[in-house]
């Protein structure tokens, strides 16, 4: 390229708007320049502010879709399962085999022997588990699956119990009204968590808001924005919150009028924090011993939150991904109520964060997730009860290995895996290896040879977002939709998940007229069926042309504003019509480790677990900035920016004789991984961190060399259903290669 042409696309270039690469917390605009059918460069939103600007991952999409390791042809396994030896076959042969295996297993064992493992990996609205594979299998006669939101089941539990709804977030532009912003286990500089979130927080800071970050790691968010960083031991956040409540009550700085008017059960929480219930006052000194946070720091944050109003406590879902994770989210919402920060501009309900306009869960679907009869609501909170009907996602490997004999609802024979890399991303990878070996047949849709793909019997190559049409919503924020226009033709013989399911529908003789539609017709039907979409995207052609549809609102969206402004006419959608600090629904479940008020419980694989004698370090598995879960994990443009390494405090490194960059072995009874150490002052002593999504790469001895944290995580769930990705004890030692 000559200098004069630098940055120019030149003539005969088509600019195709798309966006939303994978299951990332940001859903951003990409404008792809296409010449002669080839994507030659990527631009982002250059329209009206606030623009939806893509991060490094979106900008690396060409290196993703044109990667030399893309899967191009259907393949069948030829060597032992998991070894990764495959042979190219025709689509007909591959699909016939999948159809015949599905029919065989259904006839021999019943449809429940088929387990559909779909997640949100490479999905859009149409190209998703629910609209393709699960829809197909439902028509075919049914399937088994696991339950639980891998990311935020603790937050779901809490928002249902406390607010009766998942719609309890504010639009991010409302942060301009906050005097204090507390980011608790929340790192939007990296996890994005709705495009522009970090930018809105920055603007709030520049306008004078004070920013406090509570996190065992000094994250990029903390580095740039925090006026105060409070490192805390994972799994102990609820104790710190109880102590903050203790300080507020003792100093009478909580908002008693708010609590009286809008909440139920505060007196029971007060009894708990003051020690009237169990004789143990939840003082800052008590919490210091558990959390590692100095008592005066805890007291100070309590005073800041009570006095610097309005204040927005934004809780990430990471602190809730521990043994009793739901308690953390319940305690956070309780503090928000104690400080009168619910339903007001500049505050935040500290809940699940779904905002009212265009979030990932469409309004029309929320009835499946919240509300209904008392019994329906109680059942939704009953994790042990749900486990009897369907295995929790953390126990899916156990369910496959043990089946009915182990108390699980079915004997599983066939796994159909799409939009998902469960071996890499579900807890306890090594157990997953055993489970995948036990199955009779495995089919996987993939773009790349992931850990899971290696275990396929039939491996089907699928398109990326650039090779199909779809549309997508942001996670929680917005409000906007992105039209994912097809940019280029699929490479090789890759096909879309929709096409594959359509072909299988024919082979299996299932009658679902949806599969007779073209991709375009399917999308139009979905757009018309979604009540929040239809009025916004009335002109579908315009939406396709422009690539995004941004919805303007006259002022920032605040959840529960009408409940606060006019409570007589607007009860909270809970059983009592109030914010339920005490939940009768939870009390009725009557599980000892699922208390009806938020309580700190000493976590298994937390700092006080006796197991800490052998494995003294707490592992957190954070969202890494160069990956969207395991997607992009093989993208060299991104990996070179921050290669996978273990964050280790200099004191823990010194006591183990580990220098920066040296290889270490991270291990516990479940597995081991060998990675370079990043010796740092940015992490709390006693805590180590490995970014999630790094690709599992076992060596000849079965030791992971990819830095995949799930070889270490525990296959168990909290009583409220939270996954324990951050509740995991390990040991670290120097590693030297043998001879």
């Amino acid at each position: 390229m000559s200098t004069a042409e630098s940055g120019r696309s030149g003539a005969d270039v088509r600019i195709v708007p798309t966006g939303g690469c994978y299951d990332c917390g940001g859903k951003c605009v990409l404008k792809v320049h296409v010449k002669d059918g080839v994507a030659i460069r990527v631009d982002t939103d250059d329209g009206e502010e606030p623009q939806l600007r893509a991060c490094a991952k979106g900008r690396a999409m060409r290196r993703q879709v044109y990667a030399p390791d893309r899967l191009l042809y259907p393949q069948k396994r030829v060597g032992p399962r998991g070894e990764g030896r495959f042979e190219r076959v025709s689509w007909d042969e591959a699909l016939d085999r999948v159809a015949s295996e599905l029919s065989r297993v259904k006839a021999a064992f019943g449809a429940e022997a088929i387990v559909a493992m779909t997640l949100s990996g490479a999905s859009g609205s149409l190209h998703s588990g629910n609209m393709t594979l699960r829809r197909l299998l439902k028509s075919f006669g049914g399937y088994s699956s696991s339950w639980g939101d891998v990311s935020g089941q603790g937050a779901l539990f809490s928002s249902r119990a406390t607010y009766g709804t998942l719609t309890n977030g504010n639009s991010r532009d409302d942060l301009m009204n906050s005097r204090l912003i507390i980011l608790w286990g929340f790192n939007p500089a990296t996890s994005i968590w709705s495009t522009n979130t970090i930018f809105h927080i920055t603007q709030a800071k520049e306008a004078g808001a004070r920013i406090v970050v509570v996190d065992p790691r000094f994250t990029n968010t903390a580095a740039v924005l925090a006026d105060e960083w409070i490192p805390i031991r994972p799994g102990t956040d609820t104790a710190m919150m109880a102590a903050m409540a203790y300080v507020m009550v003792s100093e009478n700085i909580h908002d008693r009028a708010f609590l009286e008017r809008y909440t139920v059960g505060f007196e029971k929480y007060e009894d708990y924090v003051l020690g009237r219930e169990d004789g143990l006052a939840k003082t800052p000194q008590w919490a210091e011993a558990k959390t590692g946070v100095p008592a005066e720091v805890i007291a100070s944050l309590a005073r800041q939150y009570a006095n610097l109003r309005p204040g927005a406590l934004i809780v990430g879902m990471a602190p809730g991904r521990v043994a009793y994770g739901e308690q953390f989210h319940r305690a956070a919402s309780t503090l928000a109520a104690m400080t009168g920060n619910v339903g007001v501009h500049g505050g935040n309900a500290a809940g699940f964060e779904r905002t009212a306009v265009v979030p990932m869960i469409p309004e029309a679907f929320t009835k499946f997730f919240e509300g209904g009869s008392y019994e329906a609501q109680r059942k939704r909170l009953d994790a042990p009860g749900r486990n009897r009907i369907q295995p929790h996602g953390s126990r899916i490997w156990d369910a496959i290995l043990e089946g009915k004999a182990g108390g699980y609802p079915a004997d599983y024979k066939l796994a159909y895996i799409a939009f998902n890399n469960p071996l890499n991303q579900f807890v306890n990878t090594n157990k997953g290896v055993q489970a995948l070996h036990k199955l009779e047949f495995i089919v996987v849709h993939e773009q790349f040879m992931t850990a899971t793909a290696r275990f396929a019997d039939i491996l089907l190559p699928v398109t990326t977002v650039w090779e199909r049409n779809d549309f997508v919503r942001p996670w929680m924020g917005g409000p906007y939709f992105i039209c994912q226009n097809k940019v280029i033709e699929p490479p090789g013989e890759a096909r879309s998940d929709v096409d594959i399911c359509r072909e299988l529908a024919r082979r299996l003789n299932v009658s679902d007229p949806f599969f007779d539609l073209t991709e375009e017709e399917m999308i139009r039907q979905m757009v018309e069926a979604m009540q929040d979409v239809t009025p916004e995207i009335g002109d579908y052609e315009k939406f396709k042309r422009e690539g995004s549809h941004k919805i303007k609102r006259p002022e920032p969206q605040v959840s529960f504003k009408k409940q606060i402004d006019d409570p007589e006419n607007n009860p909270f959608p809970t059983v009592t019509g109030k914010i339920e600090i005490f939940s009768q629904l939870v009390a009725d479940l009557d599980y000892p480790d699922l208390p009806p008020i938020p309580k700190h419980l000493d976590a298994w694989e937390g700092p006080e677990d006796p197991l800490a004698k052998r494995f003294p370090l707490q592992l957190v598995t954070y969202h890494h900035r160069v990956r969207a879960h395991s997607c992009f994990g093989n993208n060299p443009w991104l990996n070179r920016l921050e290669p996978q390494s273990l964050w280790l405090n200099s004191r823990d490194a010194k006591s183990r004789g580990v220098g920066n960059g040296q290889m270490v072995r991270v291990f516990n009874d479940r597995g081991e991984t060998i990675v370079p150490a990043a010796v740092s002052e940015r992490i709390m002593p006693g805590v180590v961190a490995l970014g999630e999504g790094a690709w599992y790469r076992p060596d000849e001895k079965g030791r992971d060399r990819g830095g995949c944290p799930n070889v270490l995580t525990r296959n168990d769930c909290s009583p409220g259903g939270a996954f324990p990705y951050n509740g995991c004890l390990v040991q670290v030692e120097r590693f030297a290669e043998e001879g």
């Binding site: 940055g7 460069r41 631009d43 982002t44």
Partner: protein, 188 residues
């Protein structure tokens, strides 16, 4: 006129969107180890529990007095009279292995880069000249999710953002006079 960059150190989160956007636009080959025309430096100091981390996003700074030009034995580097952009005529560059790349030694800001290929010729930021001539800002500026970068006539940037030249981790070279306006990190 002298074109230059503006960088707000209070906003940069080290996300590397600029780095990768630059690569997407300028990398000639998707599959080779790319040379960074723009990159982000992470600087860590202090001890737990009071660490300090800040970032500097850098590129060629199109110095008023570029030392790379004098260093080049082939006269392959030129400072454009009309806008002060420093460009390299790669067809004139002798290649790193022939001349030993004295341009790289001469640059105080590590902006002179070479690809991994044998006898690589020099490459670096050219201010996205084609975009600029079409009335568009360099791609790094429009990529930044934090709106921490700007570019344009250095005099205008100074009027808009002030005349600060230094920030933690970055020293102004009076000999080179880089075309950069900064907003230095406020200590917090």
């Amino acid at each position: 006129m002298q074109l230059g960059f503006y960088f707000d150190q209070n906003r940069c989160t080290g996300c590397d969107a600029c780095t990768v956007a630059c690569k997407d636009l300028h990398a000639e080959n998707l599959f080779e180890e790319p040379a960074d025309w723009r990159w982000v430096v992470e600087l860590e100091s202090g001890a737990y529990p009071h660490p300090s981390v800040h970032y500097i996003a850098l590129s060629c700074l199109h110095c008023a007095q570029p030392s790379c030009i004098e260093a080049c034995p082939a006269g392959a580097i030129e400072k454009r009279a009309q806008d002060g952009i420093v460009v390299v005529h790669r067809e004139q560059c002798l290649g790193r292995d022939v001349c030993g790349a004295p341009c790289r030694e001469a640059c105080p800001y590590d902006a002179v880069r070479f690809g991994p290929e044998p006898d690589a010729r020099m490459q670096k930021c050219d201010f996205c000249l084609g975009r600029w001539e079409d009335g568009q800002l360099p791609v790094c500026v429009t990529a930044c999710p934090m709106r921490a970068l700007d570019a344009g006539d250095i005099e205008e940037l100074r009027r808009k953002y002030g005349d600060d030249k230094e920030m933690p981790g970055f020293e102004h070279s009076e000999a080179n006079r880089p075309s950069l306006v900064v907003k230095a990190r406020k200590s917090i």
